[in-house]
Structures are given as structure tokens and as C-alpha cells.
Amino acid sequence: MSSDPKIEGYKFKPGYSGMAADTASDQTMFKGVHWGKAMMWIFLLSDTFIFSCFLISYMKGRASTPVEWPNPSEVFALNAFGVPVPLLLIAIMTFVLITSSGTMALAVKYGYERNRKMCGWLIIATALGGLTFVGMQVFEWSKLIHEGVRPWENPFGAAQFGSFFFMITGFHGTHVSIGVIFLFIYAYKTFAGHYDEGKRGWFTTMKGDYVEIEILGLYWHFVDLVWVFIFAFFYLW
């Protein structure tokens, strides 16, 4: 995690003077940051641009259509006990995803404390949360498709509504699904003790380390982060 590591011959400075010193120093710019973690951060930066481009396109498309945009709080309402509750499913999905994000954060913490069991079970919990999320998304999609929403048309208003909805939530759902697969793989690796023994990975000569849990955690929190934006812009706006 992230309090300054000890590096022989290097004095850490805080704040912006520390930033200048780190940047001007030799060998590494991000002091004490694992290669994989640095890579994940840069990848997420790139991925942020992908989602930003999606959301910007959505904004531009929605802003420039003269046709009425469907009211999301009606479209995504769900009948509970005979009363239509706006955004009920979405609220639950948000709840599930934030829950899984919390368990992931704890998994990272217990991983660094070398608490193998706790770490593993928390990863499993995260993966199950992710699966629930994807399941509910499937339900949501099928409900909308049932109501006649298609990528190219929908009964509520502007055709772009369906296009952007399926594309953006689909792309996000793909991210979640990939995350779930990796969560299960990493849960296996945790339980098998690969990170305690420093066993080398399957496609790399690097030795296993609990930092890999943090790297996976970064990805998972990013998926949650994107959902925050999608929730705000697509469902609430």
C-alpha cells in the first residue's frame, strides 16, 4: 500500500518538492510502486478516456436531438408491491456494486496483512457481488427489450436512447464480467498460497505478491467508479 517505502540512499520529501525530487531522480519515477501497479494505473487512465469518449458522445447525441428524450426515472421504474418505484433496480445494482467495492478494499488490506483466508473469502464475496450485478443487468436488459427498446429504436422517444444505453452499459458490463473472471482466478491463487510463496505467474517470470490483489482491486474500484458516472448521467440526469 502506500506509505513511503524505505529505499537505500533515497530521502523522501513530501508534497510538490517530493514530486520534483521523485521525477528528477534516477531508476524510478513512482518510488516504491510495483511495475504492475503502475501499469494498471496507466491502463485505467487510458480506459477513463474510453468511457469519457462514450459519455461525451452520449451528451452530444442527447443534447442535439430535437426529439423528446425518454424520462429515465419512468423507463427504469420497477413495480414493487404494485407501486412503480423509480430506478429501484438501479438503486439495488448501485448498492451491490458499492458493497463489492468495499469487500475488495478490505481484501487488499487483509492481503497486505498476509491474512490469506480472509483475503481469499473477501475476493470471493467481491466476485459474487459482481456476478449479482451482471445478473441484474441481464434482467434489466431483457426487461427493456421486452418493452420494445432496441439499439435502433424505442417506444419512448429518441432512438439514440436505446443505442447509447445498450452500448455504454454493455461496455461497462463487459468490464464487470472480465473483472469477475479475474476475481475468481485471483481467489484461487490466493487460497493456493501463490502470493505467500512468491510463486511465479503463468505468463510472467514475476514472483507472486499480494500487491497483485491491490492491482486487481484498482481495476475493480475503477469499474465501480465508472458506474458512479453512468448512474449520474444516464439514470438520474
Partner: protein, 111 residues
């Protein structure tokens, strides 16, 4: 290999995670309430954006540990967002202009 020569990695107290976790639930609840009470107009948009950025900030700062990272990493990650901000700002203007020209030429009849 890429092992950093250091002793024990320090971790943070569990309390901070639980706090953030709880805050995220509360903020999500609030942003849901924005829709529940059907606030409209500027109030709705500013509330949505406020809760959104707060949630995003909390996730990044504490769950993704950015708060504890060194500035070298934090700045590398945050500065590129200015390009996105510029893109967003210009596309807001562009979207309005496209709508204007469509209404003007197709409906009002500016020809």
C-alpha cells in the same frame, strides 16, 4: 525481479474503510433521493454532479489509495483530465449549436 527492498508494508486501520464504505452508501442514497423527490432544473443537475464527484473522489482517494500515493503518481493521473474537461466543454457548446441549427433550419424555416 520487481520486489521493492522494504520491510513490512504498512496497512491502514479498518475503520477508515468502513467509514468510506458507509459514506458511499449514504451519498448514493442521497443521489437516489434527488430522483425520488423529482428535483428539477439547475438544482437537480448541481446535486447530481455534487454527489457524483464526491463519490468518485472518495473511491479514488481511499479505496484506490490515491490519497496516500506520492504526488508524482497523483499528478500524472489527474492532469490528463484537463483534455477531457476541454472536450466536454466544447461538446456542450457544439451540442447546443447542432440543436439550434436543426430547429432553425428544419422547423423554424431559416432557408
Amino acid at each position: 525481479m520487481d520486489e521493492i527492498k522494504k520491510e513490512q508494508t504498512t496497512t491502514h486501520k479498518i475503520g477508515i474503510y468502513l467509514w468510506i464504505w458507509g459514506l458511499l452508501f449514504v451519498l448514493s442514497f442521497f443521489s437516489y433521493m434527488v430522483d425520488w423527490y423529482q428535483f428539477q432544473g439547475l438544482l437537480r443537475w448541481s446535486l447530481i454532479l455534487f454527489f457524483m464527484f464526491l463519490k468518485a473522489g472518495l473511491i479514488m482517494a481511499f479505496f484506490m489509495h490515491l490519497y496516500w500515493e506520492r504526488y508524482a503518481l497523483v499528478n500524472v493521473l489527474l492532469w490528463p483530465m484537463t483534455a477531457i474537461a476541454c472536450f466536454v466543454g466544447l461538446m456542450v457548446a457544439e451540442g447546443k449549436y447542432t440543436l439550434f441549427s436543426r430547429l432553425f433550419y428544419f422547423f423554424v424555416g431559416g432557408g
